[in-house]
């Protein structure tokens, strides 16, 4: 821990090696590209958040006073498109994954550094087109583009939004491709598959979904654009086409896309829980393989989004059963994390608070998913706020909690500075309270029958809606806080030692922040993952963590 005290001259690292905009825009260093992604997805997160704020403001009263139906339709559509395609899907893989995958497996960089940079540029091109689309009118179909409304009726900017998502999709494919090849071919000597951190396993599974799912949404969007421009009839029942085919193709990607968001988050949680309970993850192999299990099963459940769309009862039965099956690997993870904590020496630092938040919220989100997979219950709650609450518990309560937990956990490695622990704990608490206040009332609203995607509602729903809007405000503050103190800590934070949490994993064995090629010598791994028995205790607060 002595390293924390005396650091006279800042060592050369990936941040101070070169300066200037060009050294960032032409970098092929995976760590710098991760930071480029961090800045860009944060930008889109706040745009998506702004739309969410307007939605919640409109729903403060039962009548449409802030916006009318047309604008409201655009608000929830743009909120969904920005959050899904430009924040959640790239969030953990492109930022933490990009930064950590090579470090964790002991590689100098990803297998294809230039492809990695290309993926960021594609993301930016897609993002700029999306911004242009929003500023010149936006889209009002909902993020799902359902045909024939999107192809034959609406006069909003479907094709432009489609192009933006098409291009961003390629960025996602290239990230996945880079991860798969890197994990297969770039592992340091001794870093066997059974010694890989679970974060890597989770990213491997995520990459499989990105690689096999994203091309399908690409072709689907292409067909929608062609249909809209030329009225081909592929998805238009008047011309003999089948709108259900669109839904099948769309959800073939867009359901697994949820696993692109949640699997990396699960990877983060595994790392955090192991470190803050000082134990090896219970049932390592099962947790690792359950990631693959989720990725595979995730491809077989898409039609549960279509139970009321007119698919056959037999098909619905099969998809219902398969949807229940995804619960198994998910539960394997939750139970194993819980078992890891049992008799662990638990430290309630900010990342661990986010991990606790994740566990509870993901469990609620997952269990309510079973309600929706159930053919008897689904028709009652489908297209209501119950669904909205359910997927926000997974995508915000799960994925974003994991993202924030991970950002705190690895911030000393990324920035070379410690974040202020007190503020971070406060923010974690605010996020948790704000999140539940926003979305728990929506479960009740949905169950009582309030449909989603309407700008008006009957007066008796107002109390719950006011609670939800109040929660969204709290949540907004909870999200602003980390941004403020992370930026603050980059300049004023205490310099971080190489391994402030005394954590396992190769990324903690190199300096903070790492040099451009990560390790001075190629590491040789002779130990199992999460060897916390050998590492000993968590460092005392005042010495290591600058509290």
């Amino acid at each position: 821990m002595a390293t924390a005290v005396a650091q006279p001259v800042e060592r050369e690292n990936y941040l101070n090696k070169e300066y200037g905009a060009l050294s960032w825009l032409f970098t092929t260093d995976h760590k710098r590209i991760a930071l480029l992604y961090l800045a860009s997805i944060t930008f889109f997160f706040f745009i998506g958040g702004f739309f969410a704020l307007l939605i919640r403001l409109e729903l403060l009263t039962p009548v449409g006073d802030l916006v009318q139906a047309d604008t409201y339709n655009k608000l929830f559509t743009m909120h969904g498109m920005v959050m899904v395609f430009f924040f959640l899907i790239p969030s953990i893989p492109a930022v933490l994954g990009n930064f950590l995958v090579p470090l964790m497996i002991g590689a100098k960089d990803l297998a294809f550094p230039r492809v990695n940079l290309l993926s960021w540029y594609l993301y930016i091109i897609g993002g700029v087109i999306m911004l242009h689309c929003m500023l010149t009118g936006g889209v009002d179909t909902g993020w799902t583009f359902y045909t024939p409304f999107s192809t034959a009726y609406t006069n909003t900017k479907i094709v432009e939004a489609g192009i933006a998502i098409f291009i961003a999709g390629f960025s996602s494919i290239l990230t996945g491709l880079n991860f798969v090849v890197t994990i297969h071919r770039m592992r340091a000597p001794g870093m066997t598959w059974s010694r890989l951190p679970l974060f890597i396993w989770a990213h491997y599974a995520t990459s499989i979904v990105q690689l096999l799912g994203t091309p399908v949404i690409a072709i689907t969007i292409l067909l929608v654009a062609a249909e809209r421009l030329l009225h081909l009839g592929i998805f238009d029942p008047r011309l003999g086409g089948d709108p259900l085919l669109f839904q099948h193709l769309f959800w073939f990607y867009s359901h697994p896309a949820v696993y692109i968001m949640i699997l990396p988050s699960m990877g983060v949680i595994s790392e955090v829980i192991a470190c803050y309970t000082r134990k090896r993850i219970f049932g390592y192999k099962f947790v690792a393989l359950s990631s693959i299990g989720i990725a595979v099963l995730g491809f077989l459940v898409w039609a549960h989004h279509m139970f009321v769309a007119g698919i056959s009862v037999y098909a619905a039965l099969v998809f219902s059963l398969l949807s229940y099956a995804v619960g198994v690997p998910s539960a394997v993870k939750v139970f194993n994390w819980t078992a890891t904590m049992y008799r662990g020496s638990i430290h309630y630092d900010a990342p661990m608070l986010y991990a606790f938040g994740f566990l509870g919220l993901f469990t609620i989100g997952g269990l309510t998913g079973l309600f929706l997979a159930c053919l008897g219950v689904d028709p009652h709650v489908t297209d209501t706020y119950f669904v909205v609450a359910h997927f926000h518990y997974i995508m915000v309560g799960g994925a974003v909690m994991g993202y924030l937990g991970g950002m705190h956990f690895w911030w000393p490695k990324i920035s070379g500075r410690l974040y202020p622990e007190g503020w971070a704990k406060l923010a974690a608490l605010i996020v948790f309270i704000g999140f539940n206040l926003t979305f728990f009332p929506q479960f009740i609203l949905g169950y009582l029958g309030m449909p989603r995607r309407y700008y008006q509602y009957p007066g008796e729903f107002q109390v719950l809606n006011v609670l939800s809007t109040a929660g969204a405000t709290v949540l907004g503050i909870g999200y602003l806080l980390p941004m403020v103190y992370f930026l603050w800590s980059m300049r004023y934070g205490k310099p971080a030692p190489d391994n402030p949490w005394n954590a396992a994993g190769l990324e903690w064995q190199t300096q903070s922040p790492p040099t451009t090629f990560n390790f001075d010598q190629e590491p040789v791994v002779t130990w199992e993952a999460y060897n916390y028995e050998q590492l000993g205790e968590f460092p005392p607060e005042q010495e290591a963590r600058g509290v």
Partner: protein, 235 residues
């Protein structure tokens, strides 16, 4: 420090083609090759979505699809299939001679591949032109009136359903042609590498992965041809 380390690696390796973050050429080649295979898996899913749409409508509107398909020029389609199979042969030759350092043969087989690729696109262009003249391009000017359904005398194809066939025909063959154009770009690049003597028996990964891509695009056509041209030719 890291600069020196990188420089040291390069000096030890004496291999200008070895990128700094790889330990040895073998690892670099394996990564590139695996990368191309993984990319081809994504391509498979990309075309897969279209094949799926095609198969569904083919089952649903078989007669209309057969009628629309019978207006295609099977002879040109078959010729193009032959052209692509020959180009696969020249690609295999290119990979083999690149590994055994025969530069003239390498350049010859790359040029042959390029010629065959361009011939394919030329023939495809003739076919597209025919369809354009016959008003079979989907859109406002599409027309498919009074076309008989093969094997069902007196029955005529539904123009809307035929339009779906032609829409899928143009999108699938069009995207295939886009992939051919990209492939030709890759092979022009390989040709310049060979010309500048940058390909050696030790370093010929570009030919190998370019070849993988070319074969994949060929295989897509091998499936497109019977699906689109030979719908009811088995009778």
């Amino acid at each position: 420090m890291s600069d020196q380390a990188a420089a040291a690696v390069h000096e030890e390796g004496h291999n200008p083609a070895l990128l700094h973050h790889f330990a040895e050429p073998e690892q670099q080649r394996d990564a590139a090759s695996l990368g191309m295979w993984v990319f081809l898996a994504t391509e498979l899913m990309f075309f897969g979505g279209m094949f799926c749409a095609y198969l569904i409508y083919r089952l649903k509107y078989f007669g209309d699809f057969a009628a629309a398909s019978s207006t295609l020029n099977t002879a040109l389609g078959a010729t193009n299939t032959g052209v692509l199979i020959c180009s696969s042969l020249t690609v295999v030759l290119a990979v083999w001679v690149a590994q055994t350092a025969r530069r003239t043969l390498l350049i010859t087989s790359l040029i042959l591949t390029l010629i065959l690729g361009c011939a394919f696109l030329g023939i495809k262009g003739v076919e597209y032109h025919d369809k354009f003249v016959e008003h079979h391009v989907p859109g406002p000017s599409f027309s498919f009136e009074n076309e008989p359904i093969p094997g069902h005398p007196g029955q005529f194809a539904n123009p809307n359903h035929a339009q779906i066939y032609f829409a899928l025909y143009f999108i699938m063959t069009g995207l295939h042609a886009v992939h051919m154009i990209i492939g030709i770009g890759i092979f022009v690049w390989l040709l310049t590498l060979a010309w500048k003597r940058r390909l050696t028996p030790e370093y010929n990964t570009p030919v190998e992965i370019g070849g993988l891509y070319w074969h994949f695009v060929d295989i897509v056509w091998i499936y497109l041809f019977p699906l689109l041209y030979l719908i009811d030719k088995h009778k």
